[in-house]
């Protein structure tokens, strides 16, 4: 498995858009397959056909809305990188909240606040998990003490 490298900034938007579309279409496909299977009339053939058509019709739409989310998120992220001149978790969290707010802007200010909170918390969770993972994996690559005095290589 190759190391996953993120693209440099303007192209990251396209990359994230595609990643979000893929995620949405696969997740939505599974969800809609189950839903179509359960909602179709009885009989295995009917159920399979219902599942197929639900996936065919609904999964691209879910993928599309995911793609909008990912593309807007990445655009705001890149804009923040440009404005602040640095790349850190706060960028992601802010752009998550802003994306939520912008996409809910047609439903009124209350929905905007709720959606922004959702986006911010979601991205904070993702970033937090990422930081924790990095910490955890970094411990395994710590060089052993060459003098051999401390026998315990646990984190200080």
């Amino acid at each position: 498995m190759e190391e996953y490298m993120r693209e440099p900034c303007p192209w990251r938007i396209v990359d994230d858009c595609g990643g979000a579309f893929t995620m949405g279409i696969i997740g939505g496909g599974v969800f809609q397959a189950v839903k179509g299977f359960r909602n179709a009339p009885a009989g295995v053939a009917h159920r399979l056909r219902g599942s197929m058509s639900a996936v065919r019709i609904r999964a691209p739409q879910i993928g599309g809305s995911f793609a909008v989310w990912g593309g807007l998120f990445s655009t705001i992220d890149c804009g923040l990188v440009r404005l602040r001149g640095k790349e850190d978790p706060w960028n992601s969290i802010t752009s998550g909240a802003l994306t939520g707010a912008v996409l809910a802007s047609r439903s009124g200010p209350l929905a905007m606040v709720g959606s922004a909170l959702m986006g911010g918390i979601l991205l904070a969770l993702i970033e937090g998990v990422g930081i924790l993972l990095t910490r955890y994996t970094a411990q395994q690559f710590q060089n052993p003490n060459p003098f051999g005095e401390e026998s315990s290589p646990v984190a200080h």
Partner: protein, 209 residues
């Protein structure tokens, strides 16, 4: 001390002469231009032939097991995103055109604006979804074919395109499958031709000469 000094200096000179002129008087042209034979270093600090240090092409140190170019999987998200976004742009323009055409004989008012906007968003979403799912199918097929064949060339592109067309039109019966497959085949063949145009042109001109 004083008597020892010239002797040690002479010894150093002798050592230098054994190794082929390690005199401190070497000039820049000596270092750069004199062709070296293997046993005589020009400088005490440079014991390799400088001609070996010249690099005229790019050389990269790659991690073990890494490919020299990016594979299909690394490019898949970019392809999908690009198709999705260009589909959205095309669909928006198309929706604008359709909306204007549909509301031609309406007064310039709010309903007209709303109708045009609706058309733009609907067409944009439709085209983005269609092109995005096509690109997703194509990328998935491409990755699968590349992994199973273990090779990467234009045949993969064409096969993936054909299979995408066939699967996308698989609801329309056998005729639809055939038509979709043909469309995919034609599009990806054109793409492969365009990609290798210089190569093909060079070989054909060599053939005609």
């Amino acid at each position: 001390m004083d008597t020892n000094h010239p002797g040690s200096a002479g010894g150093r000179g002798g050592l230098g002469s054994i190794f082929g002129g390690g005199s401190p008087g070497y000039s820049h042209s000596d270092l750069a231009g004199v062709p070296l034979t293997g046993m005589s270093p020009l400088s005490p600090y440079l014991n390799v032939d400088p001609r070996y240090l010249v690099q005229d092409n790019d050389e990269f140190i790659l991690p073990t097991g890494a490919n020299k170019t990016r594979g299909r999987f690394e490019l898949a998200f970019f392809t999908i995103g690009g198709c999705c976004m260009s589909g959205a742009a095309f669909g928006a323009v198309n929706g604008l055109r359709l909306g204007f055409k549909e509301t031609q004989n309406m007064a310039w008012s709010k309903p007209k604006n709303v109708q045009i906007l609706n058309m733009v968003t609907r067409q944009g979403a439709l085209w983005a979804n269609t092109l995005g799912s096509l690109a997703l199918l194509y990328s998935a097929f491409g990755v699968i074919i590349e992994k199973t064949r273990g090779a990467e060339d234009d045949l993969n592109t064409i096969a993936a395109g054909t299979m995408t067309g066939m699967l996308y039109k698989s609801t329309g019966g056998l005729r639809g499958v055939a038509r979709g497959g043909l469309a995919g085949l034609a599009l990806t063949s054109a793409f492969a031709l365009y990609n290798n145009w210089e190569h093909i042109k060079g070989s054909s001109s060599r053939l005609s000469l």
